[in-house]
């Protein structure tokens, strides 16, 4: 039977789905039954799940307006890219 400290240490080091299956089963059982470390570690597992979902959305969803590349930044990046492109072709 796992102890609270072992469960907390495992969850502090790794995301719960990265742990070996056997350890994961014991850990889930402990976290969902334990009245001492359960609330804390359930919160931790929920935030790990939230982070995993966020990382998937982050690479697919269009960002909200306030987190988009401002037009002047786009222009400055494009200028830098075109200038590098011209230099590269100039050297060929």
């Amino acid at each position: 039977m796992l102890r609270c400290k072992q469960v907390s240490k495992a969850l502090a080091d790794k995301k719960y789905w990265e742990l070996p299956l056997r350890q994961r089963i014991g850990l889930r059982l402990h976290v969902f039954c334990c009245i001492v470390c359960g609330p804390f570690n359930r919160f931790l597992m929920l935030m790990q799940d939230a982070t995993r979902h966020y990382l998937q959305h982050e690479q697919q969803d269009t960002p909200p307006d306030d987190l988009r590349l401002p037009p002047e930044s786009k222009k400055s990046i494009l200028d830098a890219l075109h200038s590098t492109d011209r230099n590269d072709h100039g050297q060929e």
């Binding site: 995301k15 609330p39 939230a50 959305h57 982050e58 987190l67 990046i77 492109d85």
Partner: protein, 199 residues
């Protein structure tokens, strides 16, 4: 295999610029630095475009380049930031920590079920805003450990702290994130309901 799609900078910036910028800004909390890193990544991609084989999607390839640059930057930032004012207040000596490895018994309660909103894009917009609003030290620790998946040892080495200290920083980061998510998500929905009622 040469891929014509990879050598169009205008399309790159149009299709991937915003996503790359949000990725960088959320972890760096600085518009100018985020823009610089995105630009550096595009320039590095231009130079390496002959090596792009088209095996990964173009976005994954660009994000991979950006991620390397960003982690380098975060490592440097971690070494420069002072952790003194986040002293964990002797929690290591408490009976609770010695027995369970946790600094507090009860985490804060949620006022809505977060799992129910995991499929809503707007929730993740709020999430990205909240990560970028974390205190700089918490943001660095959270970005390196939770978002970029570096090991506890690596993050502790960069921040110059003990693992127990890192756990407390991350615990506080999660609590702050939760408070921010709740406040902003509930506000957003209250605003929506009010707008709906006014129509």
């Amino acid at each position: 295999m040469s891929n014509d799609k990879t050598i169009d900078p205008d399309r790159w910036v149009e299709e991937h610029g915003d996503i790359m910028y949000r990725y960088a800004y959320v972890r760096l909390k600085d518009h100018a630095v985020a823009q610089d890193i995105v630009q550096e990544s595009f320039l590095a991609a231009m130079k390496a475009r002959e090596r792009y084989q088209g095996r990964a999607s173009e976005r994954s390839w660009l994000m991979g380049i950006l991620r390397h640059k960003l982690i380098d930057h975060l490592r440097k930032a971690a070494r420069e930031v002072k952790m003194d004012d986040l002293q964990p207040e002797g929690f290591e000596e408490t009976f609770l920590f010695k027995e369970t490895g946790i600094p507090h018994w009860q985490p804060p309660k949620w006022h809505f079920n977060p799992r129910r909103v995991f499929e809503q894009k707007e929730f993740w917009d709020v999430f990205s805003g909240c990560v970028s609003k974390l205190d700089r030290k918490m943001n660095i620790a959270f970005s390196l450990k939770e978002l970029e998946g570096l090991s506890t040892e690596e993050v502790c080495k960069e921040l110059g702290v003990e693992p127990t200290y890192l756990w407390v920083i991350l615990y506080r980061a999660r609590n702050n994130l939760k408070t921010c998510l709740e406040k902003n998500w509930l506000n957003k929905n209250t605003g929506k309901r009010e707008a709906h009622a006014a129509v």
